[in-house]
């Protein structure tokens, strides 16, 4: 998609791909034929720039035809650079600017709490994205309200657009920060489907706290020349790189 569009954020797409696949093919209760069903689990893609991975997973899950992926970021495509729910079924809220997903997901979880509904709300943020203060406003509210139906997954690839997170505005100790806000914290290998599935599919009933899953990942995972390389936050492979990447991913 990125190669065809000559645009995109492949590094972050690859760091998030395993989390997205685990959610859509194991954890989430969703029905592509009825994407707005009231009792569906909600997933909010806060790192809205990583639509390469998000759209690929939504298409594979059946929300729209896979053939449409070829229109990624082309004029008038439903597949914007950032997701738009008014074009695309399966998108819960429009994202793009960072630091929006967790606050909106908190609101969805509060609605579920008020109704005593059994759907769950999941949100995936980047780690660099946590430098946006809006996340911490929402973290306070979610912790205060003990939103056990809310799960935040942090794509902890330790890279942001221009540098490592710890060199820019350091986040560690990230687990302690969430604990201090009243969250239950788990750390996991964000490329281990089994471990992710076990953590995310376990019932939250009785936890009494929102869950923060710190998924340790690598930007550019699966492609040797992109692996943990800040240059691939955004960027487009040339023909040789594209062919090599496809061989390595096969």
């Amino acid at each position: 998609m990125v190669y065809e569009a000559q645009l995109g954020h492949p590094g972050g797409d690859f760091s998030a791909a395993d989390v997205l696949a685990t959610l859509y093919f194991g954890v989430l209760r969703h029905d592509p034929a009825n994407p707005a069903a009231a009792g569906r689990d909600r997933f909010v893609m806060s790192k809205g720039h990583c639509t390469g991975a998000f759209y690929a997973v939504l298409a594979a899950a059946g929300f729209f035809p896979e053939a449409e992926l070829a229109t990624y970021m082309q004029p008038l495509s439903k597949l914007n650079g950032h997701p738009n729910r008014n074009y695309l079924p399966g998108v819960e809220t429009n994202t793009g600017p960072l630091g929006h997903g967790l606050p909106v997901a908190t609101g969805i979880a509060i609605a579920g709490q008020i109704d005593n509904a059994d759907y769950r709300t999941f949100v995936l943020t980047g780690d660099g994205e946590l430098q946006e203060g809006s996340n911490w406003e929402a973290a306070l509210t979610a912790g205060h309200r003990k939103l056990e139906n809310l799960t935040l997954i942090i794509d902890r690839n330790r890279l942001q657009q221009g540098a490592r997170t710890e060199e820019t505005a350091s986040l560690d100790p990230l687990d302690d920060k969430w604990r201090a806000f009243g969250w239950h914290v788990e750390t996991v290998d964000g490329h281990d489907h089994r471990a992710l599935y076990d953590l995310l599919s376990a019932s939250p009933k009785g936890r009494g706290k929102p869950l923060c899953v710190i998924a340790n990942t690598f930007k550019g995972k699966g492609v040797s020349f992109m692996h943990d390389n800040v240059a691939w936050h955004h960027g487009v492979p040339n023909k040789e790189q594209y062919e090599q990447a496809m061989r390595e991913l096969a």
Binding site: N94, P103, G107, I110
Partner: protein, 317 residues
């Protein structure tokens, strides 16, 4: 500087109308919830909290989150009324209003309380005189600036009935009940409160009754001024504006900056279709400290100032 004059007997604080109306709506529709940023008292929602504590979401002093949580509540099937001081709800959460509410096009009602210069003495950080300009640019977002209790109730009810995002600007400055021969509220439709063919005065919010008083003063001079209440700013009633242009002169009056608000919106329509001489009355920018009444007088936004501007404009017809 004079202190704020006590409100005349029988005048109203439209925040009371907001809270009574939202309670009436909540009685009938369990989807209605309120969302506040610590702003329970200033939103007059103490009684709502008493009646439905589980249906009030207080996120604390966090305007970005009050807006985003409202968007999430709508996703979960609620009809949230987000109520916070207009100055912070807009300036501090503008990207959330743009991205989470207007662009996502969700069923959320934003109530900007104590808008305009109601917090006059507290200075420009607490004035909300840029909000009409910011908000009217957002697609999907209906923007209503009601002028009195009757219209505030109509606006809140219409907002609840509309499936989409709405912002209602609610002042705390006392206002009288406006005279209406044929009361009828419809989103997107202006209301002609007084007819006249010499010029048209287009106002909204707390300026409408001042515009009516100005029209009475002009009538004593033999000038027939039409007074139009343009309570919906987005979408704008262009037909009524173009009809007003047939008088040959248009004055706009708003409790807002002269740049980009009601006057700017009317000027865009007139410049595009039917330019006529125009005066835009409002505030010049960051304001000195003073009571709301003092600020209105100081910047000639009282009835006498509006009438004077109209007389000057008539000389240019």
């Amino acid at each position: 500087m004079s202190a704020a004059a006590p409100a005349p007997a029988g005048w109203h604080d439209c925040r009371d109308t907001f809270s009574k109306t939202v309670e009436a709506l909540a009685e009938a529709d369990p989807r209605i919830v309120t969302v506040v940023s610590d702003s329970v008292g200033s939103s007059k929602l103490v009684n709502f909290r008493k009646r439905w504590p589980e249906r009030m979401v207080n996120v604390g002093i966090a305007e970005q989150t009050v807006v985003a949580v409202g968007a999430g509540l709508a996703n979960g099937g609620k009809i949230p009324f987000i109520s916070a001081a207009a100055c912070f709800l807009t300036a501090r959460a503008m990207e959330q209003i743009k991205a989470d509410i207007a662009y996502t096009n969700v069923n959320v009602k934003l109530i900007g309380q104590s808008s305009g210069i109601a917090y006059g003495e507290l200075g420009p950080t607490h004035h909300s005189i840029e909000d009409m300009a910011w908000l009217r640019l957002l697609n999907n977002l209906t923007l209503i600036v009601p002028s009195d209790p009757w219209e505030t109730e109509q606006a809140i009810r219409a907002a609840a009935a509309l499936d989409g995002p709405v912002f209602v600007r609610v002042s705390r400055m006392p206002v009288p009940d406006l005279p209406r021969s044929n009361p009828r509220f419809e989103i997107g439709k202006a209301e002609t409160l007084r007819d006249g063919d010499d010029l048209a005065i287009i106002a909204n919010g707390v300026m409408v009754h001042r515009a009516l008083t100005a029209a009475e003063a002009l009538a004593a001079d033999g000038v027939a001024a039409r007074v139009i209440n343009m309570s919906t700013v987005n979408p704008l009633d262009e037909a009524t504006i173009l009809d007003a242009a047939k008088t040959g002169a248009v004055v706009t009056v708003e409790e807002h900056s002269v740049r980009g608000g009601l006057g700017g919106a009317v000027a865009e329509v007139l410049a595009t279709h039917d330019p006529v001489p125009m005066r835009i009355l409002g505030f010049p920018g960051f304001l000195p400290t003073g009571s709301a009444d003092w600020l209105l007088e100081h910047f000639h936004l009282n009835a006498a100032g509006i009438a004077d501007a109209a007389r000057q404009l008539l000389a240019r017809k």
